[in-house]
């Protein structure tokens, strides 16, 4: 089992571990892929200088699934990570759980880091799209992926998020500074008082997960809960899987064996160079995603499939808008079960596609999600501080 793909010898400042999807000049970045094994970036991700300025040090890079699109890192070229009981765990989450880092920074593409935080009992925050620079992160599904933070406590999450949030001219999707400033630890925020429970999603989860939802409710003193059908939210899954796979297909097409990364030893022409390199260096789930994405973008399918998914995205954004007129946040599971084993991912290669029914609503809309007590809260845009305040309350931190 390999938790770290690279480790720093001298860490100055409070240690933070980065998922191997975040580019660093002084350590290799492979995004869990044989294709990028040993790849050294010429530049650091934007968040690295921000972390250092805030007194954090990078203690190492953590193993991730290939392009971070799988369930819990099971597709990594460096192997999956499990705990003593054989349960799949996220490497960076486990590093934080072990106390080797105060926080982990991940790319939340399809929720694998959110699930990992739940599995390891951490607090997790994926901020509003555009509030943390994606400059220097390995791209997978750019329209929804975000830099996310997990830590043992909500206050540590907040401290790190506050450090990395901010406008960046090098990221064209970065929001203006006044919006990003709403994520700072001392920014004004409102209290979450009324939460909708997404019934369709809770009902589809296991009893253990339902119990976690109940436990969350029991600990959220003074918060009013009301069930809603939320059938609309289940459409996010198919739409996100379409958009995600198309974008992943496009983003990994640059890994062709020509410029850097893995190159097949045997080829007799340029087409073979491409085909052999990619065949040998990409894993099964990524290859499937490439094929799926390629199909959805084909001339025949674009309007029927991809364009429709973009429209569904709009519908879900509007659905949340309406919901947030009456509620401050939506409570839902982050996974169908509280534990997964290698046997689960072996039996169903596409388990991450299935499990994205819980994570797609926040991924496709760019809304912030928090994970606390093994369940997920999706909040209004820029409500990160409110979500983390509630997490503090539920966890009875500082008491």
């Amino acid at each position: 089992m390999k938790l770290y793909t690279a480790k720093s010898e001298n860490v100055s400042g409070k240690p933070v571990v980065l998922d191997d999807t975040i580019l660093t000049k002084d350590m290799p970045t492979a995004a869990g892929s044989k294709m990028l094994d040993g790849y050294m970036s010429l530049f650091d991700a934007e968040i690295i200088s921000k972390l250092k300025d805030a007194g954090f040090g990078i203690c190492g890079k953590a193993n991730v699934g290939e392009m971070a699109i799988d369930l819990l890192g099971e597709t990594s070229y460096y192997g999956e990570c499990t705990d003593e009981s054989g349960k799949l765990v996220g490497a960076s989450a486990e590093i934080v759980k072990n106390g080797e880092a105060v926080a982990a920074i991940s790319m939340d593409v399809c929720g694998s880091s959110a699930r990992a935080a739940a599995m390891s009992g951490l607090v997790y925050i994926k901020p509003t799209y555009g509030t943390v620079s994606r400059f220097g992160t390995i791209p997978a599904a750019c329209s929804g992926e975000c830099v996310a933070v997990s830590a043992k406590t909500a206050s540590e999450c907040r401290e790190v998020l506050s450090a990395i949030a901010g406008h960046d001219d090098k990221d064209g999707t970065s929001l203006p500074e006044d919006k990003c400033a709403l994520l700072k630890a001392d920014a004004p925020r409102s209290e979450i008082k009324k939460i909708a429970i997404a019934k369709a999603l809770v009902d589809s989860a296991s009893d253990e997960v339902k119990a976690l939802i109940e436990s969350f409710k029991a600990n959220a003193d003074g918060v009013e809960f009301a069930p809603i059908d939320a059938n609309e939210l289940t459409y996010a899954q198919a739409a996100w899987n379409i958009l995600m796979s198309a974008e992943v297909c496009n983003n990994v097409s640059k890994y062709d064996g020509v410029k850097y990364g893995y190159r097949a030893a045997e080829f007799s022409n340029i087409d073979e160079l491409y085909t052999n390199s990619r065949t040998e260096a990409f894993g099964y789930l990524l290859k499937s995603t490439i094929l799926f994405g390629s199909e959805t973008l084909s001339e025949d399918n674009y309007m029927k499939v991809y364009d429709k998914a973009l429209r569904v995205r709009r519908v879900i954004v509007e659905y949340f808008d309406k919901l947030f007129a009456d509620f401050d946040a939506v409570l839902m599971p982050v996974s169908s079960k509280t534990a997964y084993t290698k046997a689960d991912t072996d039996a169903n290669t596409y388990i991450a596609y299935d499990e994205s029914i819980y994570t797609a609503p926040a991924s496709i809309t760019g809304l912030p999600r928090a994970v606390v007590g093994g369940v997920q809260l999706v909040g209004k845009a820029f409500s990160e501080n409110s979500l983390l305040d509630l997490a503090t309350k539920v966890r009875k931190e500082g008491k």
Partner: protein, 475 residues
């Protein structure tokens, strides 16, 4: 049976920006291989595209010059295909909402005037260049040109002969160069053309099978290729020599033939989709008007204005060959108030220097204001023409003020009659024989004495004043 040829063109033009379309690398032509590159234009992961606003300026300018409607919200899309000169394996282009749509270009041919409709103009990035290395027998990639901004101008199939195509391309080139969108150099590849051609019986409204010839880069090749393709199509239709299929063909200008490259069936599916990393570009009124205001006159409108200033049609025509000449002329005229003189100095003297330096008219970069001042000095007889030419030559290399330069280098015509008399006296004293000859009626020697005086004065005198002074001395 009589046939007509139906031709539509896709013209690629590299825009004259300092930097590339999505990164800050230089967009200049040439340079050492892979000198103008960064992680973004080399396709390394983690860099995000930032739209160069100047590219949008020039895209709008091109559209306005070609009477297009400007899409006030314009978006960028990804076009996927694999080729080693395309580092990201996708080209960022505009598929769904191009910056300009529905324009027209007026052309003139031996058959009269015609309006060619423009379907759209879109902005996109160029690809790199493959270089074959014979020494190692391998193919290498030069990414200098990768992400250099292009516009692609797509015409409707309104053209029907090589003559019309050439007229259209020349008009396009003139308009785009005039608006400083591009230098449009065929030989450097900053202007390239794809020719879509089909043939049908005259009067038919059904289009024939279309073939496309890509990346044509000279007018003469385009002319020959159109003639060859037209004949090939007619031959196929009339004599059944071959079955025409929709395909991309390569024109071999040396052999004078076109060859099939790929058919529609084997053509790639480009899998276009909106680039999520580039936010839609919204062109507000302020931006739109700013570009509209900087739009130059059409060349023929400018020529008319020049003629109204008193230039001949010929001179006006010479000036509108290049926007640089017009700019210098306008500034020189504004300063000097002398239209004819300003035009002459540019058309004759500046062009002579440019030719000597093996530079084109577009490269004329002297200050028009300074030229105007120089013309004024000559008109006021403060500097003679010969010295003025010398000063002009210096202006090509240095940014000088002509008056100050003339004063500093003793090139100002002297009005000091005392000095004139002094020189005349000295010359006459030194050459008593000539003076004697003159007095004896040999008037020819006058010019010799005049020349000696002029030489001593280094030409810096009013010839009339000198003549008078010399006559006086000789009386």
């Amino acid at each position: 049976m009589k046939y007509e040829t139906v031709i539509g063109l896709e013209v690629h033009v590299e825009m004259a920006t300092e930097s590339k379309i999505f990164c800050s690398c230089s967009a200049k032509f040439g340079g050492e291989q892979n000198d103008h590159v960064c992680p973004a234009c080399c396709g390394m992961p983690g860099m995000l595209p930032i739209v160069n606003k100047h590219v949008v300026d020039l895209g709008m300018t091109a559209g306005m010059m070609l009477n297009c409607d400007i899409n006030r919200t314009t978006t960028f899309d990804k076009k996927s295909y694999y080729y080693p000169d395309l580092p990201n394996a996708y080209q960022t282009t505009q598929w769904f909402a191009p910056v300009c749509v529905n324009g027209t270009v007026d052309i003139k041919t031996s058959k009269g005037e015609k309006k060619v409709r423009i379907k759209q103009i879109h902005m996109e990035e160029d690809a790199g260049k493959l270089v074959h290395d014979d020494w190692t027998d391998s193919t290498l990639v030069d990414f200098n040109r990768t992400s250099v901004p292009l516009i692609e101008i797509v015409s409707q199939p309104d053209l029907s002969s090589a003559e019309e195509v050439i007229a259209y391309l020349e008009r396009l080139r003139s308009l785009l160069r005039f608006a400083k969108v591009s230098d449009c150099r065929w030989e450097q590849g900053s202007m390239r053309c794809d020719v879509n051609l089909s043939v049908r019986p005259e009067g038919s409204d059904v289009l024939g099978v279309r073939t496309e010839m890509k990346n044509m880069n000279s007018l003469s090749a385009i002319e020959r290729a159109i003639e060859y393709e037209t004949a090939r199509h007619i031959d196929a239709i009339e004599n059944g020599t071959e079955v025409l299929v929709q395909e991309t063909r390569r024109w071999d200008d040396i052999k004078g033939k076109s060859y099939a490259m790929r058919t529609k069936e084997t053509a790639g599916d480009y899998r276009y989709f909106p680039d999520p990393n580039v936010m839609p570009v919204v062109i507000d009124d302020e931006w739109y008007n700013r570009i509209k205001e900087t739009l130059p006159d059409l060349p023929e409108v400018k020529a008319q204005k020049f003629i109204e200033l008193g230039l001949t049609e010929y001179d006006a025509d010479q000036l509108i060959q290049s926007r640089a000449l017009c700019d210098v002329f306008e500034a020189a005229y504004k300063t000097s108030g002398l239209a004819k003189e300003s035009a002459n100095w540019i058309i004759t003297d500046c062009m002579t220097i440019l030719n000597k330096k093996q530079m084109t008219a577009d490269m004329l970069s002297i200050s028009g204001k300074a030229l105007g001042e120089l013309i004024k000095l000559v008109a006021e007889e403060k500097v003679n023409r010969g010295n003025a030419k010398r000063i002009l030559a210096v202006m090509f290399d240095e940014d000088i003020n002509p008056q100050e330069y003339a004063e500093k280098n003793g090139l100002i015509v002297s009005n000091d009659t005392g000095k004139l008399e002094e020189v005349v006296k000295a010359v006459c004293a030194a050459d008593p024989k000539s003076v004697e000859d003159y007095k004896n009626g040999k008037e020819k020697v006058f010019m010799a004495l005049f020349g000696q005086c002029m030489k001593q004065l280094q030409g810096n005198c009013n010839p009339q004043a000198l003549k008078e002074a010399l006559l006086k001395e000789l009386q």
